[in-house]
């Protein structure tokens, strides 16, 4: 597949740009984590960081797979586990704030 075509050749470049831009977005969310006036603001911002990292892991999986010989499929598992852990941490903080206890 040496004659891949211009669209296929542009795929790693576009994915690298998307990776850099979403990393910058995740860094910008950190402003709300630091400066958020209330505790739920910080929880929302951390939840958004988790979702952004899920998206970054998916883009990185495709980017690693475009490289011949790169094992990119493992990062799909990474994104799935990160989604689960992010949901559990959000529910835990919400319960701790309201009930004052996580498991009673």
């Amino acid at each position: 597949m040496s004659s891949a075509g211009p669209v296929v050749d542009a795929l790693p470049t576009v994915l690298s740009g998307a990776l850099a831009l979403s990393a910058l977005l995740t860094l910008a969310v950190g402003y709300r984590v630091i400066r958020g006036p209330t505790t739920p603001d910080r929880v929302v911002a951390l939840d958004v960081i988790g979702t952004n990292v899920v998206a970054i892991a998916l883009v990185f999986a495709v980017l690693r797979a475009t490289d011949s010989g790169g094992n990119g499929g493992i990062f799909v598992d990474v994104s799935l586990v990160l989604a689960i852990i992010g949901f559990i941490s959000t529910v835990t903080v919400a319960r701790y704030v309201t009930e004052g206890d996580i498991i009673e």
Partner: protein, 136 residues
Amino acid sequence: MTGVDPVLLAAAGGGAGPVGPVRAALVIALTVVGLFFLTIGTVGLLRLPNVYNRLHATSKATTLGASGNALAAWVYFGPGGNGLKALVTIAFLFLTAPTGGHMISRAAQRMGVEFEAGVTWPGTTGSRPDDPADDD
């Protein structure tokens, strides 16, 4: 390309063969759409005035953004194997993001985070849910 045995291709790990131009264009389009929604969610989180308004922006937009990227991974990796895991990620995000957002907003309301000025609770005239109960 015409001599590829599909059984061998599936046995080699999920059927993601060499990427053609159509599939590459689909992956690029879905990645750009996902990045667009992630940008909108982040701008809404940074700009909106209240925790409830910020939840309104982020819980929907970032779910759609991550789902766009997961659809791009599904198109790239094929219908089985890693692509199926990407679809499971989409289903999980659509189940958990509204649940988590509801729990955070209820926790914020119980903590006493005020609404915007002029906003009333549904069915009452005040900004607290227990206003009519005080009249009884």
